[in-house]
Symmetry: C2
Subunit: 155 residues, 2 copies
DNA sequence: TATTTAGTTCACAACAAACCGAACCAATAA
DNA sequence: TTATTGGTTCGGTTTGTTGTGAACTAAATA
């Protein structure tokens, strides 16, 4: 694979990555920026390079970058004697994805508990279903906890 | 708790449930309908009762109901000599939530593999991070598979 | 001091999603 | 046959999102 071919393929994956994160509620441009910073061989981009590479306006870039930084998905470094910011993908503790799922499942679990408490007939179809669902959620949350232990065997 | 109090609280939880599912990409009304069918003591609603209870238009109800049915989240029954449809929450095999997560994680895993294949420097910061992420994903996917086995110990 | 650089902010245009009312249709009832 | 019931479909309004260009600011440079 020539460097040029690789470069083109990386660009395609940036787009693919973007689409993936659109589905997670990212705004399109934010997903593309994140993809750019993660996928390309160049892992440090300036504001202007991002604009140039993705063909977007300064304002779009400015907003998306601010959001991504607040969310903790990117960070930037500065070089002495250089006013530009160099953005990079932020290596979060890789539990984040898992922790997000955990949060969602927990919130769902709390919901099922609330609903069950309000059912006047604990043997209604839905009540029975909710209990089985709650059980599944517990089993699953346990296995998440287990995975987390496996992945960070510190302390 | 009086029946009236319970009823009011259930209505609130319908709203809460709706907000939860908005986040999952449901349209607001669809989430409220799903909540209604799952949360309230009454677990069988007609079209008109749904409209009445949620104060929405016939067209909104019609569209949302169609979508929910296509997605397999609700179903309806009919009674002999009664043209009305009675809608109910559809008890899906409770693995669905888990399987959705599994799909998402798998697609993310495939993406990381693709990205890694295109990295020209396998020791770059992002490449190293991607490998650790891939590892986490594998551990996690394993534990999902395990949970699934625990939950459906048939065959 | 004037100019350039590196962005931010604002006002708005373009588009999409969500919802509604009104018209409509098909099946049953009168 | 006409009226009513139980919806569906169509067209349009409202609301929200995404992105832009132009004006602005603050720091560095000339």
């Amino acid at each position: 694979m020539t460097n040029e071919e690789r470069f083109q393929k990386q660009r395609e994956v940036v787009e693919q990555f973007g689409r993936h994160f659109d589905k997670e509620g990212f705004q399109p441009i934010a997903g593309r920026i994140l993809g750019l910073l993660l996928v390309m061989d160049k892992e440090l981009y300036t504001f202007d390079e991002i604009i140039e590479e993705l063909q977007i306006s300064k304002s779009s870039a400015s907003n998306a970058l601010r959001n991504l930084e607040i969310r903790g998905d990117i960070e930037y470094i500065t070089l002495p004697g250089d006013r530009k910011r160099y953005f990079k993908f932020r290596k979060q503790h890789s539990g984040t994805i898992i922790e997000d799922m955990e949060k969602k499942l927990n919130s769902l679990r709390e919901l099922t508990i609330t609903i069950l408490e309000l059912k006047s007939d604990p043997e209604s179809e839905n009540a029975i279903y909710l209990r089985s669902m709650q059980h599944s959620l517990c089993v699953f949350l346990d296995s998440i906890a287990e995975s987390k232990l496996k992945l960070q065997p510190k302390d």
